[in-house]
Symmetry: C2
Subunit: 328 residues, 2 copies
């Protein structure tokens, strides 16, 4: 039931639903404009933010509803391509004021970055209000925002099948008790290795993941950048390596694209068993790797179904081996 349909390009997606109809996936997060410098080039006013990167990836698999806020200065017409891919913008609030702007610079290794500018603008007052038509979304992605707001979102949705939650060191340090409360209500937490260590207070990632899972989430996914990702779940530990790109242009948004590939695949598959969960992590890694191939979310938006399928097969080829027979 996987793979035949729903990957990439509009012709392969499920029918785009009306603005007021039910969506597959609700995403709540930032919608921003980014200035990005890397040793390989730069981008100005690139579409950015967690909700944007997530939607660019997830819309290859399922219909998405964004809840976010932008200022009146936001070039909303540039989101038209998202709408054409089945992204419902009903929940995107346009407010008086300026949009969230972020500027960052990457070193040559592309794994460490400097934030040069964070102008929250109207995002500082973001209070997510979930449109009626989004409240029954079966799949929910809580992008990296204040855990109090993430909790607010969960109070507004009706019994989702799976809630995937992102966070960052800023909230781990500054809103720890709120974050721990939130963890009781999410099914899957997405953190990088440093965040897992900081949150749990344990350097060992296997123990850190166990610590987090005891506080609520059935699943913890630890992102390790170029080293891939690890899923810790009730039935398994599952590793996916980083894709060995020979050219990495811009890692901005790779984590949100990962989340989009993962939840997009689950929404399309409609199942939550171990096999599907493993595949979902691979689709996440595939979309994360595509996100690094260009500035902004353009590469994700241009993907053809065959390209995604090819990359997933590459991950399979890069990791498969035949286990020796059980000794007789």
């Amino acid at each position: 039931m996987t793979g035949e349909a729903g990957v990439g390009g509009a012709e392969n997606r499920r029918p785009v639903k009306d603005r007021d109809s039910m969506i597959d996936i609700l995403v709540v997060g930032s919608v921003a404009l980014d200035d990005i410098d890397t040793p390989f080039g730069q981008a100005r006013d690139a579409l950015g933010g967690s909700a944007v990167y997530f939607s660019a990836a997830a819309s290859a698999f399922a219909s998405i509803g964004i809840v976010g806020v932008v200022g009146e200065d936001y070039p909303i017409e540039r989101l038209e391509a998202f709408r054409a891919r089945g992204v419902d913008l009903t929940g995107l609030d346009v407010r008086e004021g300026t949009s969230f702007r972020w500027a960052g610079s990457y070193d040559y290794d592309l794994s460490s970055r400097q934030t040069l500018l964070t102008e929250l603008g109207v995002f500082a007052e973001f209070r997510p209000s979930i449109p009626e038509s989004f409240r029954r979304a079966p799949w929910v992605f809580l992008g990296n925002i204040d855990p109090r707001l993430q909790l607010d979102v969960l109070r507004q949705v009706e019994d989702p099948r799976l809630v995937l939650c992102d966070t960052m060191n800023y909230w781990i340090e500054g809103k720890r008790s709120e974050l721990l409360e939130l963890l009781e209500h999410v099914d899957m937490l997405l953190v990088n290795d440093a965040e897992a260590r900081e949150l749990s207070g344990d350097f060992n990632l296997a123990r850190a993941a166990a610590w987090i899972r005891e506080r609520g989430p059935d699943y913890v996914i630890i992102k390790k950048g170029e080293h891939g990702a690890i899923l810790f779940g009730p039935e398994e530990i599952f590793f996916v390596p980083g894709y060995p790109l020979e050219e990495i242009f811009d890692p901005t948004g790779a984590g949100d694209a990962f989340a989009g590939g993962l939840l997009g695949h689950l929404a399309r598959a409609g199942r939550l068993d171990s096999e599907e969960m493993r595949r979902a992590v691979v689709f996440g890694c595939a979309m994360g790797s595509f996100a690094c191939e260009a500035f902004g979310p353009e590469r994700l938006m241009d993907l053809r179904a065959a390209e995604v399928a090819d990359r997933v097969r590459s991950f399979h080829e890069m990791t498969r081996f035949e286990s020796p027979a059980v000794p007789s």
Copy 2:
């Protein structure tokens, strides 16, 4: 043909050969005494050195001949357990003087270490002389020594099926031209990510591996510590994750144990095709992970066949997924 025999304990190995008979694997490297401090404990006068760790791992699979040097102070009787596992010590030269001593201290993260002491002793004058009975060994491991000496070894052996070579930043910086000459004559280079980057001058590991492979080795294996290992070969890129140990006591020797598991498996399997090469890397990772479970090589020496098989199956379980069907 794999798995049924030859893993662990003497009862499962191929017949131990006479001292003068042909061996499966020749290893040339250091034989040392280590003082190790980690946050979890310390060891004094632990058996150490690349040839020792390699042999501890590889002797679970095949018969080994060590070429190395120790001083008269070396507790040679402590190598008796190696002999009992089919390790031929004919090539271990006992010289007037002191043995190679190394002392190191690990931080809490166990991935960075400080070298506290390096007393080369008789190892400073090591000039490997390969016993006649070792010269037709089909498998050769060149432990981390001066590339000039590694080249010397290759002049003394007769047409091995595969030469696996280790090195380090010290030689990459100080003996670059000799190392590049050596590369023309080895089949497989084993380096960590920092060494691959330094050797090639390219930060990107995929390009770094391609650069190295153009200089001779058909295979490059990049060790990434807790992040696993990557094989770059003529037919494939193959990833194995690090094993998620909840308790890591001492990573000393893990790289040499990796080499021992890898070459040991190839010697036992007797084949060099892509499938066997992938399995060999997994056996390498398995033995590397066991090496971290105790101070010194003891854990490797105590392994039962079923434990090794279980760990290899764990790696399979941690990485397997069903690739989606090809879209019709």
